[in-house]
């Protein structure tokens, strides 16, 4: 069972080639890049490496891009779906450990956790923000996880089909966990390495953004 690797990307022309080449080198050829309306050459670069690209005509946010990738992957009849970041902060070798519990039918979803793994160079402020996310998720969804905002995840097709994802922007990470909890999907955290480089630090989420995420989640609850 070859997994499909879904890679949402927005203006990642500097790094996407490296990530895709590394995946191909380690024999992952079922790749889907969801280009979320990038203004640079992200899509062209991915296509030049013979990777399937789904292109949002306008930017709709990472959550929206992920769902597009998941919908397409399910339509194409894939059994195991992996979500992977385009900026090179995850390690391709760790995909194996992520999909193994699903292949063995132990669980339906695996969630990468940088706090269980050997994370490199995490800035202190990042750690504080992420732990805030963990605490908020516990209050909001009653799920106790060590890392709630990690894009490295794997799903069985049954689990992926059950998730109702409506958050387009960054609040999608909390929403996903909420959905896993609500639909009683069996999950497990798997240690992963997150490599912080200057590039990923710049692209990452700021604290002010976290406040916005909380606002979006709460508003969506009342506005349903």
């Amino acid at each position: 069972m070859e997994p499909v690797i879904i890679i949402p990307a927005y203006n990642e022309e500097k790094v996407i080639a490296n990530v895709l080449k590394e995946l191909q080198k380690q024999n992952y050829h079922n790749l889907i890049v969801v280009d979320d309306g990038s203004k640079d050459n992200t899509a062209k670069i991915a296509e030049s490496l013979k990777v399937k690209v789904i292109r949002h005509p306008i930017n709709r946010g990472q959550g929206a891009a992920l769902k597009t990738g998941i919908d397409y992957a399910l339509e194409q009849g894939n059994d195991i779906l992996v979500t992977f970041d385009a900026d090179g902060q995850f390690k391709v070798e760790e995909i194996k450990a992520m999909i193994e519990p699903i292949q063995k039918k132990e669980v339906d979803v695996t969630l990468g956790s940088r706090f269980l793994g050997k994370t490199v160079n995490m800035p202190f402020l990042k750690k504080v923000t992420l732990k805030g996310g963990v605490a908020f998720t516990y209050l909001f969804s009653r799920i106790k996880l060590s890392d709630t905002h990690n894009g490295f995840k794997a799903f069985s097709k049954e689990a992926a089909a059950k998730l109702e994802l409506r958050q387009d922007r960054m609040a999608h990470a909390s929403e996903m966990i909420d959905e896993i909890n609500k639909k009683k999907i069996k999950y497990k955290e798997v240690p992963v390495t997150v490599i912080y480089t200057d590039y990923t630090k710049e692209k990452g989420q700021s604290i002010t953004n976290s406040a916005r995420i909380v606002f979006h989640l709460l508003m969506k609850k009342v506005a349903k």
């Binding site: 969801v34 399937k52 690209v53 789904i54 292109r55 949002h56 005509p57 306008i58 709709r60 946010g61 929206a64 769902k67 597009t68 919908d71 397409y72 339509e75 409506r166 387009d168 508003m219 969506k220 506005a223």
Partner: protein, 122 residues
């Protein structure tokens, strides 16, 4: 009873607003419920401006000292409610846009990979 300048300005403005509401209703851009809602609000506005003592009466009835306070309370509550409604509406539109973008993106990819190359692609 003579009207002060501010009363005239406000009443003229409200009459303009009412004319817009009637126009939209005639054009069938709004339903009768929305039409009634806005007409009521604007007519209440005219009454309070023309006869401030009427607002005074209601304020005292509700135990609020001044008529101006009553008007402010009601206006602020109404504004917040309308903002909330607009927020919900924008959210719905946002979700709809994402769905359209997603469908277009997936459809395009499918056409590219599943059909034979057309002369255009070459």
């Amino acid at each position: 009873m003579s009207l002060s300048i501010i009363q005239v300005i406000l009443i003229v403005f409200i009459l303009f607003a009412i004319s817009r509401v009637i126009l939209r209703f005639k054009e069938k851009k709004i339903g009768w419920r929305v039409f009634l809602f806005w007409s009521t609000i604007w007519i209440l506005g005219i009454i309070t401006i023309y006869l401030p003592s009427s607002a005074e009466y209601f304020a005292q009835l509700l135990g609020i000292g001044r008529a101006v306070d009553l008007i402010l309370y009601v206006s602020v509550a109404l504004l917040f409610y309308l903002i909330f409604r607009i927020y919900v509406k924008i959210n719905q539109i946002d979700e709809a846009i994402t769905k359209i973008v997603r469908d277009i993106a997936i459809e395009k990819t499918k056409n590219k990979h599943e059909s034979k190359p057309t002369p255009e692609d070459r």
